[in-house]
Amino acid sequence: METSLKGWEIMSIVNYVHFEFPSLPENVSFARSCVGAFVSQLNCTLDDIEEIKLVVSEAVSNCIIHAYENRSDGKIEIIASLRDDRSLELTVKDYGKGIENLEQALQPSYSSDPNRMGLGFTFMKSFMDEMDISSQPQEGTSVLLKRNFLNRDRQAYA
């Protein structure tokens, strides 16, 4: 499949979508609806879709609140792809301020914002099988999230 996703195992991708939108708070809801609609192609459960929506909500909120510090002129990109093994790969990317100390950022309950709970990355990790973050100060952050909907024996709400 002809895609703009370089370096992937192109053959196994059965569908993908690439979105780009500005860092407006109303786009958090929009983004999770769209990714939810995309994932529903997998015929997974409603619970699965709700979990993916939560993950998207966390990742996109982080771009707006942290990467762009609530400015609305930032660009956010999402790439979602489904593979023939019924797995979802999700990338949420910003071109904002980046994360200086990634280890600290990933600690449960750590937040640089006193009004927030530091639960975002915890949720992303809990509801996905894999999470991989690459970030460069002043250049931006890219969060890669993977989840397989087959043979999944994980207690998400333990």
Binding site: E50, S57, E58, S61, N115, R116, F123
Partner: protein, 110 residues
Amino acid sequence: MDVEYKTVRNTLVVRVKGELDMLIADKMRQEIDRRLEENSIKNLIFNLEKVTFIDSSGLGVIIGRYKKVSAVSGRMFIVGAKNPVEKILHFSGINRLVPMYSSEQDIINL
């Protein structure tokens, strides 16, 4: 997203409708804090019956208000949370801090 605020004696009831995410979290937090201070209200009830989605921004408002209310020895309740909201509340562990009931009536009958 609609938020309805109602004061009954020294209790503030907050009824939320729709999706509780960052789009409304900040405004809701400010609005609740203003009402708590202005009217020297001690207790807080979050009615989440009509909430269809919550993420960490929404949870943050609830957990933060719990801390505030507890600091002045007030009580807080969550009411009417259904899936997927109920699951997220449990997942976050907030149900171990804040009693959860099915309806506002259940609290009045306590």
